[in-house]
Symmetry: C2
Amino acid sequence: MFQDEQEKNTITIPKSKTQNEKQGVNFMTIQDLFGQPLRAVNIGLEGFAESLKSQGAEVLHVDWRPPLAGYVELTHTKDGVDIDLANVEAVNRIRSGRPMLAGMGIAREVIPGFDERMILHAGPPITWERMCGPQRGAVMGAVVYEGWAESYEQAAEMAAAGEITFDPCHHHHTVGPMAGIVSPSMPVFIVENATAGADSEHPTVTYGTQNEGLGRVLRYGAYGDDVLKRLKWMEETLYPTLKAALQETGPIDLRSIIAQALHMGDEVHNRNRAATSLFIRQIAPALLQRRITKQSAEEVLRFIDSNDHFFLNLSMAAIKAMLEPAEGIEGCTLVTVMARNGTDFGIRVAGMPDRWFTAPAPVVEGLWLPGYTAADANPDIGDSSITETGGVGGFAMAAAPAIVRFVGGTSSLALQVTQEMYQITAGEHEQFTVPVLNFRGTPLGIDVRKVMQTGILPFINTGIAHKEPGVGMVGAGLVRAPKQCFEEAFKQITQMNE
Amino acid sequence: MFQDEQEKNTITIPKSKTQNEKQGVNFMTIQDLFGQPLRAVNIGLEGFAESLKSQGAEVLHVDWRPPLAGYVELTHTKDGVDIDLANVEAVNRIRSGRPMLAGMGIAREVIPGFDERMILHAGPPITWERMCGPQRGAVMGAVVYEGWAESYEQAAEMAAAGEITFDPCHHHHTVGPMAGIVSPSMPVFIVENATAGADSEHPTVTYGTQNEGLGRVLRYGAYGDDVLKRLKWMEETLYPTLKAALQETGPIDLRSIIAQALHMGDEVHNRNRAATSLFIRQIAPALLQRRITKQSAEEVLRFIDSNDHFFLNLSMAAIKAMLEPAEGIEGCTLVTVMARNGTDFGIRVAGMPDRWFTAPAPVVEGLWLPGYTAADANPDIGDSSITETGGVGGFAMAAAPAIVRFVGGTSSLALQVTQEMYQITAGEHEQFTVPVLNFRGTPLGIDVRKVMQTGILPFINTGIAHKEPGVGMVGAGLVRAPKQCFEEAFKQITQMNE
């Protein structure tokens, strides 16, 4: 009556309803899957086509993805370090990480190196002059929110006059979705990686703001009374309430929530409905303590319930906390940061963690909110691609087929993307698994060498901001990291090891 | 960069990691899926093998599921009613149903026909003499809970002496999981089908108790101070608190929760983690009203949070409310009830809704809790197979691959089961869809004729109770409905139409 072990790697596909009903067939056969005589198409390396041919199959070989420009085989550094072993060490550090939500604080008080009149932003370093519309918009909103300017125009003038210091979130163990603006008064979550001890040479504490929701919100470049009023409420009600609740619950295991959410249709980048639900379940009873008024508790519950993306910022900080211990491993060719400021896309590599390799931010293929089109879209933006860097998000899309209703594509695409990403990663997660792939771990640790060799670029799903300051969200979609980042990084790796 | 529409019905499967990494191949080919030269195996009707052969494929025909004994083609009733049309009408009534959680009440006050000293039970009608161990255990617990006896022994004597009236839940628009015991003082949820209006000739209000959790609980046949203490708390704290919260929220749309949960890895029979989470999100803010103390609210939140199966009883009552409007459609051959009392498995058919067709309850193939084996298991029990009857549960397992960790099998099995069930159903849900099957509606409306023709028996996933009274849960597993029920029902259908 039940399937035996032998069959555990097969998935059958329904035929069209009419055929099923007319013929009463029990299961599809492989031939029927494509409704035509079968021929294998080999996509990739020719050696594999040979192996198929040797089994008697008719094979069409399509050599459609040559290695990227500058690829050479590279197994050891010039000092004799085995790169594969360095990468294994990195994968082990990352996947053994255990990010815990330890508490909350005000950005300027808890984030290291937060200077006065400093604003953190998503992506690689950038000046006001080169900054894209939505990031400018979010800066203008933040400057007024901080009370440094009376108007948004004045805020822009201050920024243009060099009166604001801009620094990437990633330079401060922080991650910010979309524009990724963090200003000194903003409350932030504090995430500690419980695996990497206090004596680790690598920072193991990361930070992220509270998620505002979708639509007209600061991180999508919107500003205005509505946006600032919400930020103020988040500072004055949401923050102290959640902080008090966290003191009651104790540290919350974010790795456990992410692991469960991957079994509940989330990939914890653009789908966080399950993770947000599980977070509510953990926090809700702690909102009933004496120090919290019923009104605050109710407002907080309704706010989080109204925003299925609430967990995104926690997911990002958690994955960042898992990745950081890999930074600095000698010879390691794994990517530890992918981040975009809406103008540039930048990556950082574990073996030389202080360098950015950048390229123009790519255009996102999107689904549009009513009234918007591709012409309204800013290029790819945000630190949220830290999720893909850490083996979830787009890399875990097979766990979240329903996400295609939000970011576009088909549920088949969701499955294929995850499978494709195994080709450019050095390992697999142990805690983060995909039920539909028979609980295989998600692909973890983007190896610059494998990206170069296969020409397969990391896949990201993402929100899309309006290109003008002050508007907000216009859609969500799918994008690949630009190949130039990897070519530049690889060039540097090979030069170092000549 | 993205998959085109043509590929939307394909799912590719990862190869073993070693192969992937060595060869750098992008996607699997079909040949590789089975790792050997391809031959189609036709399972089922020979006509389909012919159609494959005509496409040049090598086909091995396996005629392993002949029609069940007594099968004849049947298209019209003797009065000329087109059975297909009757079934389409039934499918339309079921899938347009909109079950709302309207409120709560005490069983004896709200459930129609609840006589004094009556106890409702799962499955078809049964006497104390033939009742299985866990159902007897649950009756004994309920009799003491009601205060009708001082001891469990005395309770059993009363039952044996005929002092208790037993009636199936299904005779009272009620559904109960496992033993399915409902005694007069128990609080119940009240579910109204908002589509079927008050003027409908079919009852559109259904009832279900509050879920106790897993382990040593009444519905698994356990009794004792711990079990009764929990039931008392559920009556005195959980019930009034939830009732007050529901007055605040207004009716809760259970169809919407089920639809969302199917996109979050639940099949709402043995996996209800997402649905329970969504229910908590809806109810939690309403617990903060003035009438409810913080202590009650916190106890209720912690209780529901501790039990991912909490939504099961709501899912069952919701699906029952969707199915009832199909009862009584002339000529309709769809199953509207599958229910088990642990001794007998019974089905009811829409065209003759007052008849039960029964067979011995089958043995469940299970995963066992520590310390238990198959030797401890009672045969299949409970009204929860109403979920499969209504197109979710086992029928929606493709939406819930992670469930195999609880009920056994592989995630491939979960996909295959749903696809197989399309062969015996008359239609598909519109609101309830499976992302991984490209959002296809779940298979809905088991047609007795199709079960007879194909020999494919409805698939159910289920909890397993200890066979002795007083113990409780021992595992969970997978089972098929027994064929005799369908043979008997079909015999009756053909006799009526000769």
